[in-house]
Amino acid sequence: MAAAPAVQRLLLHPLAKPAVFLLALAPFGALLHGAVTNTLGANPAEALIRGTGDWTLRFLCLVLAVTPLRQALGVPALARFRRLLGLFAFFYGVVHFLCYAWLDMGLDIALIVPDIARRNFILVGTAALLLMLPLALTSFNRAIRTLGAARWQALHRAVYAVAVLALLHFFWMRAGKNDFAEVAVYAALVAVLLGWRLWHRLRRPARG
């Protein structure tokens, strides 16, 4: 691929990571700005909860796209951004949960716990977030060395489960209003990204 070396050089630029970091933070900044200036519409709490949820899903898709794109486009430097994107998925997931717990539930544990237990879609979403926690906690280099690459990789495959749970969370949330158009878009993306991995695994069964 002719463009690959140029892209590769760009991705290895010392400013590439800070730039991606700022880009990834931009949606949070926009939501925060909207909340402070009261420009999030009639129901700002709902806009914040939905907005942060959308961005969690988007970052999950982005982080799952790193390996397929890296191999398909021949730009190994993409791997530099995988941890950053994964941590942003976790960050938006945490903010999403905090928005729900604070704006919808008034940070009242006595309300939150039964609400999670009673509502399947919240239960599944909480499970996805909790499953992301060990991945975020073992995202630094020393954790990889301590765990050993094989065990670390096995643990971090949990991100596939996180993506499926997050999708189910979104699907069940929208099922109440019978509105699956957006869910279908994310489901198709996740299906392609996980399907690509499955296809590779089946084609080359020898590789771990």
């Binding site: 909340a35 009261n38 519409g41 009639a42 129901n43 700002p44 709490a45 709902e46 914040l48 604070w102 704006l103 919808d104 008034g106 609400d115 009673r118 509502r119 879609f121 069940w172 949330m173 099922a175 109440g176 209003k177 019978n178 509105d179 158009a181």
Partner: protein
């Protein structure tokens, strides 16, 4: 110890007694003041946003029809709407409903009635005196507003068309025109959108056929040119942009019942004790509540606070079963 010694009943000096005719006059004066208040147009109560044609309504004398809670801002009430015919996002209707043509408009009133007919919108506007009704609106999604509607009790129309003994339910059909409504391309619901009430619910004086809000005609996204407003039921029971009102014998299947029968019942009365499977109905977020983002949710009231007026309609019914 009393500072003023009790001397028993003190007879007033005759000159201080108000003459009888003057005392009676006071009542006349109060009655006149009351009449003035009744005759005052809606504009006196609700500041018009100045966006659309004025449609004033007199203060309603129907019990429960004029809550004194803070009104929802017009900007919020007209930009945060569920009107799936114009898109499923709540910002979609305000963006897309400009394609709706509200003139000419007729409503077919048909079925089990002695005098069926097609009513032109201009005939309906003059059918009964317009009243302003300030109602709470509780959406099944857990948010609420306070909206000053303009219209008249649906019973005014029902009486004129004379339902027969077979009329047990009233069905409300919303316009379904692909040329005007981009949302019809999605298969979220079976179109047209159909809602229904029991005849006694439809006859209740609080059940409103609304033509306006905030002293002006309805914005398209809020269901122009006429819609139903049933304040003690979740908002989706109040069909918008109606083209037919049908009197039937058997309980009709509503659009939401057909889409998700375990989640949306026929009655759909606001009830904090019966949760929707996906969210609690015990509390609600009042749109525009003081305190903004961090305002506490309000407890939801039985029948949306209209229990004194409508509770007797459901006497003896298991409201968990008939949700």
């Amino acid at each position: 110890m009393h500072l003023i010694p009790d001397r028993g009943f003190q007879h007033p000096v005759p000159s201080e007694i108000t003459p009888r005719d003057l005392a009676l006059n006071r009542r006349q004066w109060l009655a006149a003041a009351g009449a003035t208040a009744v005759a005052l147009p809606a504009a006196a109560q609700t500041a018009r946003p100045g966006r659309l044609a004025p449609l004033p309504g007199a203060r309603s004398s129907v019990p429960g029809a004029s809550t004194v809670e803070k009104l929802t801002a017009y900007a919020d009430a007209s930009t945060y709407n569920n009107f799936y015919e114009f898109g499923t996002d709540k910002a979609d209707p305000a963006r897309n409903a400009h394609t709706l043509k509200t003139r000419p408009w007729t409503v077919a009133v048909e079925g089990a009635v002695a005098k069926p007919g097609r009513f032109d919108i201009d005939t309906l506007l003059k059918l009964a005196p317009m009243e302003e009704r300030i109602y709470r609106l509780r959406c099944v999604e857990g948010w609420s507003m306070v909206i000053p509607w303009v219209g008249w009790s649906l019973s005014e129309l029902i009486r004129r068309v004379e339902p027969t003994g077979n009329a047990k339910f009233v069905q409300f059909v919303t316009l379904a025109d692909r040329a005007q409504m981009p949302g019809l391309r999605s298969s979220v619901l079976d179109w047209p959108y159909v809602e229904a009430l029991r005849l006694d619910e439809a006859m209740h004086p609080l059940t409103l056929l609304a033509f306006g809000m905030y002293g002006e005609v309805l914005p398209n996204q809020n269901g122009a040119p006429l819609r139903l407003v049933v304040p003690w039921k979740y908002g989706f029971k109040s069909g918008k942009s109606l083209v037919a009102i049908r009197f039937v014998e058997r309980q009709p299947k509503t659009s939401w019942e057909r889409a998700a029968p375990e989640e949306y019942g026929f009655y759909s009365n606001v009830n904090p004790r019966v949760d929707h499977p996906r969210w609690t109905q015990a509390t609600e977020r009042r749109i525009g509540e003081d305190g903004g983002l961090f305002a506490k949710r309000r407890p939801t009231l039985m029948f949306n606070g209209y229990e004194p007026q409508v509770g007797q309609l459901y006497a003896g019914m298991d409201l968990k079963k008939f949700f």
